[in-house]
Symmetry: D2
Subunit: 133 residues, 4 copies
């Protein structure tokens, strides 16, 4: 049901002394998947800023960890748009290793005007992005 | 209502190109506060492993970001125990800058046996830890 | 002159409040390139531990930063073996963006026995790895 | 011989799957010590930018790792000015755990004008900072 998947190889720096990927290290994975998905649908970061004149601010995150991931493993980070309102939107994620679920979660974002930093409208094109089921 | 507060100075490495503390950088703050709180009530990490024979695994995190924090600012990370069951517990957090709320959230933890890695009981002393309101 | 090159896309979490890639963020890039190079020449990390019975410990790093890199840029991390002795070796690196040099450096490694943690000999196959010019 | 020392408690997020502090995690320690030292001698970061009108860019780093550090250990990061020229300076560091040396190193910095980003002169007050022996 997710429209996009980014393969990610676990770096050693992302592991911790329990021998697994540290729970904070998943947030940059989600961010990377989000950025690549937007690029794939025609909205790379530079265009968000220069064409749309906006920035996306992270206002919330929720992550549930199901299984540990290890150094050098190949993960897949699936993502898609979960919901949107006038000035905010939510992305949903599933991190998998082959058929196993490693983690699932969401990030919530506010749109701000790039110049003023004030709340701004979600770009119109985002209304056409399919929602994940 | 939080029984413990850890002061933290924002490091430059924790900021991002929006000029603010990156949203992932808060998770190590929560972790540091959790570790210091447990130390203060007589249960440093080494004792968890050697006396109680357990490890605490992060199984979930939820964080809401209210205001950006900047490089070199002094934050306070408040924490306390929110709830506990036989094999799991939840910690609650509030990150503040003077009287302002920067972020609030929770982490959920499973207890595992240090040797076997299997689910284990929450240590008995945790039943005496006061719950945050 | 470098036998291997790993493309890396800059993540937002790796930038800092000066708007550029934080200088510490390059070390995981070097590490990722080192791991991929060893995999490519037939020695993935798991084999180092299970076949050779060794671990590689970082005992030194030197990095010179020539130009800033920015969020979302595509970099290339080139690497190769610079020198080796009985129990140590040095890897060399060049980080580039198209034809521009972003950074150059070296990491020095000691070989240790995986079980005992004591100094061990560099694996024999490493004697056949070509040195960078 | 170092004029300043910053105590640092190792965070779990800074460890890796070898059970020790990851070699990249030391760079933010050096940075934190550098910032605190400058604050102590009357030049907090905000003043560098607003009074002196400059930023300090990291142009090189060298670090030698002598002993591993572990989660929850208390380290001390000593620092001082090693040398300076018209537009650059070098800071030296020693990371210690009680009487043991964990790591030693240097960072090299270029001074840039905060507005233009162009090379600028080292602030005059830096000429009065004592050099480490």
């Amino acid at each position: 049901v997710f429209p996009f998947a980014l393969p990610i190889r676990v770096r050693f720096a992302e592991t911790d002394a329990m021998g697994i990927v540290h729970h904070a290290a998943y947030l940059p994975y989600l961010e990377a998947a989000r950025v690549e998905y937007l690029r794939q649908i025609g909205h790379p970061y530079a265009a968000l800023r220069e064409v749309d004149g906006v920035d996306f601010v992270v206002v919330g995150v929720r992550l549930d960890y199901h299984r540990p991931a290890l150094f050098d493993e190949e993960l897949v980070v699936r993502t898609g748009l979960a919901s949107l309102s006038k000035a905010r939107f939510t992305m949903r994620y599933a991190i998998e290793r082959a058929a196993e679920s490693i983690a699932t979660g969401e990030t919530r974002h506010a749109v701000i005007d790039r110049e003023s930093g004030r709340p701004a409208r979600v770009p119109a094109w985002m209304g056409d992005v399919p929602l994940v089921g």
